[in-house]
Amino acid sequence: MAAKLDQGPPNYKEMLPPVILENYGKWKYHEIPRPGVLKHVSETGATMHSVRVASPRLVSIDFVRDLCVIADEYCEGFLRFTTRNNVEFLVGDEAKLNPLLAELEAKGYCVGGTGASISNIIHTQGWVHCHTPATDASGVVKAVMDDLYEYFDSMKLPAKLKMGLACCLNMCGSTHCSDIGIVGVHRTPPRIDHDKIRKGTEIPSLVASCPTGAIRPDPKNKSVIVNNDKCMYCGNCYTMSPAMEIYDAKNDGIAILIGGKVSNARSAPSFSRMVIPFLPNNAPRWPETTKAIRDIIELWIANAHKGERLGEWVERIGWERFFSLSGLPFSDMLIDDYIFARETFRTGAAFKY
């Protein structure tokens, strides 16, 4: 039988538990009775508990089936995933909350990710499935979350802390707008395979793909030339053409950006900013990366006001103060030299020594 075209996603209305159908749009307020548990109260007086559980995002179908067994027993067969790829069990019957929590604990699920905590890291494909990565995604995330687990199942931070990881400068996901962004970076120019270019690369598109204009056509050779002095190794030319291989096992690694946010609460949404230009790909545990992130987070915990997101704290004390407090080396690599650079320079005489 031929597939039905353009039928769209399943109707969400069939996916909502009875307590939501009855209280849809009538929610009055919510509380967080304990880390990982939300209590929503409706205008009708009805309550619903959501129990948030960690997921590695890359999961087997048996993981999903296990979730289904739990949802059938405690949640009338309903559950949801969050925009940070956690799982939420939706409990309409309050009597089932504690038995559910006991079962989750017995089975080794990680309950947390609410309030002033570190929730799941939004991340990408890495070496598992992508052709352009400069680092792995799943492995780095596992290493970082193992290290910071104490902040997932508690709510003792100054404010929530969101992390994103992207395995290359395409920055799929939320790295550019997270409290802490982990980005895979290259440090060497692409290697041109002239035969491959001649066989099937659209040269004008390849030339246009370069942000810095480092690539120009070479009509004599029916290929292209890369000006290595203008190349900052973004890898977008490789995205356009298989002839521009850029991975370099010895020199690829990770950059750390901090201070981004998307919510409008108090301050406007902001981009994350680079504070560490390079850390090595030290698989399987990436110790330099996990340490750098922990150090930044602990500095924020020790110095921020209550309720202050990482970026809000740094903006209040000044980036120069952040560098002196953190001891992170400041180098010209951290000074912007791309299109919107000028607005990041200090056009004022007020600063701290």
């Binding site: 969400y12 749009g25 890359l58 067969g77 949801r80 925009t83 399987p284």
Partner: protein, 412 residues
């Protein structure tokens, strides 16, 4: 098959956080492809590089996207993942599921693919990770039969996504779940058959907390808001005061526009409604006492994208307030985005996101040609340079050099 060792990956089965390595191993019990994926990944860990070949164009009949082709770089060594394609399945609004639906997803994937998934991809889709080319059409046929459709990939409208909205949030200013469902169905053709300069994403967030990250992760960002005053329940304020909640320091002092005043004597909180920018901070901190206004809708922002090519952009305000009503079928929204896409399709260069097209040609031109009125809410501040374009046809050119007749006089 002989058991192959994975000492590096085995390290990542330790620790408290749930392990993706354990998950791949679980899938590997039933799937030779997943078993080989584990081997390739172990090699990547040892060599610190990826092993997937560049690109790959595969798909299903009738659509131009939805499947991401992927091939391992040593097919002789790893025949089971010589082809290891990803299928994107359009998720239900808000990632709500019943277990019957989830089990169907699992059973069909066990039949056809690696048994590995991403729940979910960053744009929102269910990601079915790893199948052979010959399986793609049968996969689509089976999922279609079971009531699923593919998500987007390529230069098209990508899968739309939304926050939990009125399903479980007191902050929701419009029905994000219904908007996402309705509008996705409206634009099925744009989603399944790439026809644009580049990708285009829509994300629906119910309030300024922006739980989908719409402002940074979508070309069209729809963020719920209201137009009248915050609603304050003074009795509930007194209850917060009784619990010694720090109303002055945690809420009032942090208000970005200083439009809140707390009277410690009377334990009353007041707001200057016209000064409030609806950032949601006070509501977040005192959800039992403060609510959004009654006249609800959304702000439409345009241009969000990540780094490549011209830096990351946040979406910026285009329509400050728009009704997002189920009753009128989201008509104003649909009409506006159609004009926006049409303009971009006409003016955008190959692989140019709409934010970059607007940046290159100018916000003024974009607004004029999409018939969206310019208003101060669209900018943080007006321009500082005087390099203004004027429409020459609107100027009085009679008796000037410009009308061609008086050139001689001007040269004297």
């Amino acid at each position: 098959m002989t058991e192959k060792k994975t000492p590096l990956l085995d390290e990542l089965e330790k620790g408290k956080w749930p392990s993706f390595v354990t998950e791949i191993k679980r899938a590997a019990v039933k799937s030779p492809a997943s078993a080989e994926l584990l081997q390739v990944l172990e090699r990547s860990y040892a060599e610190r590089r990826g092993h997937w070949k560049h690109g790959g164009i595969v798909g299903v009949r009738g659509y131009g996207g939805g499947v991401i082709g992927r091939y391992v770089d040593e097919p002789e060594t790893y025949p089971n993942i010589a082809e290891f394609h990803t299928v994107r399945i359009n998720q239900p609004s808000g990632f709500f599921y019943n277990t019957k639906t989830l089990r169907t997803i699992c059973d069909l994937w066990e039949k056809h693919g690696s048994g590995l998934t991403n729940m979910h991809g960053s744009t929102g889709d269910v990601i079915l990770l790893g199948c052979k080319t010959e399986s793609i059409q049968p996969i689509f046929d089976d999922y279609s039969e079971a009531g699923f459709d593919l998500g987007g990939s390529g230069s098209c409208l990508r899968t739309t996504n939304c926050c939990v909205g009125p399903g479980r949030c007191e902050h929701a200013c419009y029905d994000t779940l219904e908007a996402c469902y309705n509008i996705t169905n409206e634009f099925m053709d744009e989603l399944h058959r790439p026809m644009w300069p580049y990708k285009s994403k829509i994300k629906f967030s119910g309030c300024a907390n922006d739980c989908t990250g719409a402002i940074a992760r979508a070309d069209i960002s729809v963020i719920g808001t209201w137009r009248d005053s915050l609603r304050i329940d003074q009795n509930a304020i007194k209850e917060y005061a009784a619990e010694e909640f720090p109303i002055q320091s945690a809420v009032v002092a942090k208000c970005p526009t200083h439009c809140l005043t707390y009277n410690k004597e009377t334990q009353e909180l007041s707001v200057v409604a016209e000064d409030c920018t609806r950032c949601n901070h006070c509501i977040n901190l005192m959800p039992k006492a403060i609510q959004a206004g009654k006249e609800k809708g959304a702000t439409l922002l345009v241009g969000g994208k990540s780094t490549i090519v011209q830096s990351a952009f946040m979406s910026s305000v285009v329509v400050p307030f728009m009704k997002m009503e189920v009753e009128d079928d989201f008509e104003e929204f649909k009409d506006t985005v159609r004009r926006i896409w049409e303009w971009w399709d006409e003016n955008g260069k190959t692989r140019e996101r709409i934010g970059e097209t607007i940046f290159r040609l100018g916000m003024g031109k974009f607004l004029r040609e999409t018939e969206i009125p310019p208003v101060p809410q669209q900018v943080f501040r007006p321009r500082a340079n005087p390099y203004v374009f004027w429409n020459q046809e609107e100027l009085d050119q009679s008796g000037t050099a410009m009308d061609g007749s008086e050139v001689k006089n001007y040269n004297k």
